[in-house]
């Protein structure tokens, strides 16, 4: 989980240097952090605070405000189930429940093998395919509860 110590990558450091003096840089930098590590590691947040000269409290205030930023490392496969209105009306809620049931974890938590985490997201913009689930960028559309097992199996086989 997140108690492994992350080191700041040269790429991230260069990005911070580039954005350092631009006004309103914090969120863009945090995006880069999340992109690099998959979450916002504590050590990196501290170092970022130092480099940007922004209080750590402010960084955490921002990180915890926005859904996009995570403080815990997510699973290898992130299952995002769309709960936009169209998907909800066509059973997105049931899909989430089925994923939760089959994986034995709730929304925003990761399976103990670190393979899957489930997220509920708002409108992925493919309402024509509702209900939709996205796994690491792959869109699975027009899903029914019975399709869930197959999807999990597919990624489990990939390991």
């Amino acid at each position: 989980m997140s108690n492994e110590t992350e080191k700041m990558t040269p790429d991230l450091r260069a990005f911070i240097e580039e954005w350092k003096d631009k006004p309103g840089n914090l969120i863009m930098v945090l995006h880069k952090v999340q992109q690099t590590y998959g979450y916002i590691p504590r050590e990196i947040a501290i170092e970022t605070s130092e480099l940007l000269k922004v209080p750590l409290a402010k960084i955490y205030g921002v990180v915890t405000f926005y859904n996009f930023f995570k403080l815990q490392k997510a699973g290898k496969y992130i299952i995002q189930v769309c709960l936009g209105t169209a998907c909800y009306l066509r059973g997105g809620d049931d899909l989430i429940k089925e994923f939760e049931r089959q994986l034995g974890v709730g929304v925003n938590t990761t399976t103990s093998d670190g393979l899957f985490s489930i997220e509920a997201v708002r409108c992925l913009g493919c309402c024509g395919l509702a209900p939709v689930a996205v796994v690491n960028g792959d869109v699975h559309g027009k899903l029914e509860a019975k399709d869930v097992a197959g999807i999990i199996e597919k990624y489990r086989t990939l390991g």
């Binding site: 913009g125 493919c126 024509g128 869109v139 559309g141």
Partner: protein, 131 residues
């Protein structure tokens, strides 16, 4: 590219307009246009795009341009493909999968016959052409 002046811009527009009206960007006889918005891609537009290219290559057709465009708004029918062939009416296909893509090349582009069952309507008139 050099910075444009006002005249450059106008000239460029004139030239491109002609090319677009001919529906022919590089002396090609036919164009296959794939809707590649998020919705289209989610529904499989990328697969359609590669199948089109593969089939065309396989058939040795070099006079067909395959290009992308944004969402046409026909979300229920994604992926959508518009086919422009000289001497034929322009047709939009919906619910295109790899098999249909292949069929489009074989029947429509080569055979000049419309592929059945998956034709859609253009959603509205074009206001840019409307004077």
């Amino acid at each position: 590219m050099a910075k444009l002046t006002l005249d450059d811009l106008r000239k460029m527009r004139g030239e491109r307009q002609k090319a677009m009206e001919m529906r022919d960007n590089s002396n090609k006889d036919a164009q296959v246009i794939v809707g590649m918005g998020t919705c289209g891609i989610a529904a499989g537009a990328k697969e359609v795009f590669t199948t089109l290219i593969d089939t065309l290559t396989e058939k040795g057709l070099t006079n067909v341009l395959v290009r992308q465009t944004g969402c046409m708004g026909l979300c229920h029918a994604e992926p959508t493909v518009e086919v422009v062939v000289a001497d034929m009416p322009t047709v939009i296909y919906g619910h295109v999968d790899a098999a249909t893509a292949k069929e489009i090349v074989e029947k429509h582009v080569i055979g000049k016959a419309i592929v059945e069952a998956k034709i859609l309507e253009k959603p509205s008139v074009d206001i840019v052409k409307e004077k």
